[in-house]
Amino acid sequence: MERRADLLTPKERVGAFLSGEAVDRIITMPIVTANTVHLIGKTVKEFQLDGEVMAKAHMAAFEKFGYDLVYLFTNCSYVAEAMGQKLVYSIDEPANCDDPIIKSRADLDKVKVATKDDGQLPVYYDALEILNQELADQVFLSVCFSGPLTTAATLRGTERFVRDTYKDPDLCHKLLRLATDSCKNFIKEIVSYEAMPIILEPIASGSLFSPKMFKEFAFPYNKELVDLAHELGALIPFHICGKTHKIVDLMADTGADVISIDQCDLEIAREKVGGRAVVLGNINPADELLFGPVERIYKVCKEAIDKMEGYTPGFFLSTGCETSNEVPMEHIEAFMDAARSYGTYDY
């Protein structure tokens, strides 16, 4: 395997791609987030609560891997937290919601539309400020946050929310409205730091909801977010982990610029999203990337690259979901090496 050196910086590469020029290799961005913190000997908890730790962790990871997008993300519940939900922080795991705040309709007044400085949102601004100084000349920055449906389900408790879609859809829509407005406020802040907002909707996945339910409870609210990003002149990817083969076309219908997928055959994505959005995915972070060995990582990356050759508007090599603390760093390096070896197409 010949591993070619990068010719462009990640920023030049993505810039070239966006303006339709040739690039030196496939754009590649494993979803590397809070696990970066171990490179600087701190904990996931510190990463989630201290913007400087977050920034330094990402600087270390970017230096090590040289991937094409810096992906700021702490946990799936931080938008809900900014709306009034209490989270549990353990030392080395993403924070989670143990006790959903909306027990009944009467609790609606316990949550509010999140604004700029609520919850731990300012951690991101602190990190972005540092990264804009230190890295922004080399690579684009992004912030990933849970979208309306995932946030609403966090506030209500996922199982109750799921039942409500039949038993009390009005309550679902009320929560979705509040969550959407919260996400919009946060998107404005992200864009003001010239970072790219990324919507994450794991609870909208086809592992939980039918396409019909997706249309009613996820689509309109996410479309609002996409429209806002576009009004602000920003690109916006849409990520759903789990199964998406039955909703990948609906994801593209939102107008999102990048459709980021996990358990969805790339050929289905190619057919249903083709011509409308970049496809990003979908090496399994819980299988190949977790267990290796590196030869197997090379193989699945090459297969994905080959499958998507010639796809327009473009295919970015990524993981289907976030890489956890358990994924060995050498496997992430192998993933990048695969892109540098096989991802050059005809260039």
């Binding site: 199982e159 799921v162 039949y166 939980l208 339910m213 982990c241 299988d287 358990e326």
Partner: protein, 214 residues
């Protein structure tokens, strides 16, 4: 009304998520003196079997399964008080839980619902379950199956630990070990020596019946 017609109506209403109708029809079955176990197996469980099939074929999803299982349980509440103790035969017993360190329990709950509604006796240990507890509970209730779930790669290894505990106590052969959850794969099941991995809740129920009943 003919018995079979009534069972068909019970199943049909259950599949259509009409809880009130299921309850009404179950009351009717009592008025007609239809043996309760027949109403349960040929009406309610038969309906849930179909729901399971629709789920596996991705016609139904989590909301539909939950609403149908609510309807099933409402029907069960009506007839169960009149069930004679040993009518249903000896059920398969399963201990399930989400392994220590993980609180994601939707998948586990779904599997639990599918099992219960197919007549399996489920001992649900909940989420973030200390690993010793799986073994202890299985011994206590004389379970056939130990089922473990996780959504996180960081907690997967707890499943291996439970299997090692069974081996250490020389009781590995007493139980079949079922594992599942987002990051779990057949490969991982093979690696840790679990007996069964399935991709979704309905096939878990089917495969369990296969390995216990042969």
């Amino acid at each position: 009304m003919e018995k079979s017609k009534l069972f068909e109506k019970i199943s049909g209403s259950l599949i259509e998520m009409e809880e009130d109708k299921v309850v009404e029809l179950c009351k009717k079955s009592l008025e007609l003196n239809i043996p309760v176990y027949e109403t349960i197996t040929s009406g309610l469980i038969a309906g849930m079997d179909e729901v399971g099939r629709l789920y596996e074929e991705e016609e139904y999803f989590l909301p539909e399964v939950l609403i149908c299982s609510d309807a099933m349980k409402a029907g069960l509440d009506v007839v169960k008080p009149y069930l004679k103790a040993d009518d249903m035969g000896k059920p398969i017993k399963v201990v399930i839980g989400v392994v220590e360190g993980d609180t994601h329990d939707i998948g586990k709950n779904l599997v639990g619902i599918m099992m219960e509604t197919s007549g399996i006796e489920v001992y649900d240990l909940g989420r973030d379950v200390p690993l010793d507890k799986f073994v202890k509970k299985a011994e206590e209730v004389e379970a056939d199956i130990i089922g473990m779930s996780t959504l996180m790669t960081t907690t997967m290894d707890g499943m291996r630990t439970v299997i090692e505990k069974l081996e250490a106590e020389n009781i590995r052969n007493k139980y079949k070990v079922l594992i599942g959850g987002g990051p779990i794969s057949q490969k991982f099941a093979d690696m840790i020596g679990a007996d069964l991995y399935t991709k979704d809740a309905n096939s878990a129920v089917r495969e369990i019946k296969k390995i216990v009943w042969g």
